[in-house]
Assembly symmetry: C2
Homo-oligomer: 203 residues x 2
DNA sequence: CACATAAATGCATACTGTGCAATATTTGCT
DNA sequence: AGCAAATATTGCACAGTATGCATTTATGTG
């Protein structure tokens, strides 16, 4: 079976990530060389690059993945959109629960090293893309931009909510999703305030 | 006056950017070394890094800047939010008009090199941050997340609209803003569809 | 013109990331 | 257990990225 090897591989990936986080928190991102991280993880410098393409990837590890196939129901649902998005996110977080310790360390690193913030944002991109694809299938091809924007919005709202979750031990996953809903609802309210209708002039 | 020197400096920065875009479009992003770009721009390899901190920055040049000070009116306006955001963006595009040729080349590069797409996204971040600050001042400190999300949404919608503008010579800046409004309005409509009210459970 | 300032350059150097080949380890199978 | 195939780890060489520092060159000012 591949299973055993795969488990070891994932464990090593996690080990390297934690080593990277430890070293970076100890001496700072700039000073943390890949060699130092490899030493901390007790692997050869070369092996480091067998697991992660670069230092940043090692810090982030692999972000949770939204399974496109497991979201077939989403495309044809006639329930309210926001509720369905929340169900998708719940599904994803259930499949691949976040590790509060790791997330907390990542947050510390990003806080100390603001130039890494965009990187952290980027790590959401795979999820954003998957969600965007599902939304596109649901909304239709003439709503490509809207699908992308709502996907962005949803993943960023999730990111915000996860930030709160990291900072508060008592918070449950349900609360995270509640926060996401709250944000999306408020955004909707802000956007429609005072709007009559959209007239298109060109394009 | 510094003014003359400054103009030369900005011109050199533009020259280097165009050289970078030419080289990258000719031989691809991966194969385009900083040395080759410096040669194309007829400067020494070392000088390249006096102008841009890295290759990516040279390709993007400096993205348009949203002047926080010029947006004081925004914070206290009682007009509809979306309309005010559009006025801000119009102001910004008026101050610092985009170059269609450059944008078109950037688009070609990003199309050929998908791994650069996040980079392009990042280049919007400064604008997003400025807009987010203005929104925060307007919405109040208890709407921090909403301010960030609406800022994201607006700049991404702008990015989408600019994509269309690049592809269509006849499109004017007004049309770009019209597209932004259209997207924001539609997002609002999608988000509020079927929503009764937000009940908060925790946090 | 001569001086002060800023820009451009050359050189040395640390670090990143990749390809390749050699070695070691694990796995499936008998 | 023992063998062969697959997979993982490692060392080495090397191209490229980026920075610091000292030096040279160009430019604007009086």
């Amino acid at each position: 079976m591949n299973n055993l090897r795969d488990r070891r591989r994932r464990q090593t990936a996690r080990d390297i990530q934690q080593a990277a986080l430890r070293v970076v928190l100890r001496i700072g991102y700039g000073a943390a060389t890949t060699d130092a991280i490899a030493a901390e993880a007790q692997i050869s410098p070369r092996t480091f690059f067998n697991y992660y393409p670069n230092k940043q990837a090692a810090i982030l590890g692999q972000p949770p993945k939204l399974d496109r196939d497991a979201g077939q129901w989403f495309e044809t649902s006639d329930q309210p959109l926001v509720g369905d998005i929340l169900r998708l996110l719940a599904q994803m977080l259930g499949d691949d629960p976040l590790d509060r310790t790791i997330m907390s360390m990542i947050k510390q690193v990003v806080d100390r090293t603001p130039e890494l913030l965009p990187l952290f944002r980027m790590s959401l991109d795979e999820m954003t893309q998957a969600l965007s694809d599902l939304l596109l299938a649901r909304l239709g091809p003439d709503r490509t931009w809207e699908a992308m924007l709502i996907a962005e919005l949803s993943t960023h709202a999730l990111s915000n909510a996860v930030h709160s979750w990291v900072a508060d031990d008592r918070m449950t996953v349900d609360c995270v999703l509640g926060l996401v809903r709250q944000q999306l609802d408020r955004i909707g309210a802000l956007l429609v305030a005072g709007v009559k209708s959209t007239e298109r002039s060109c394009g």
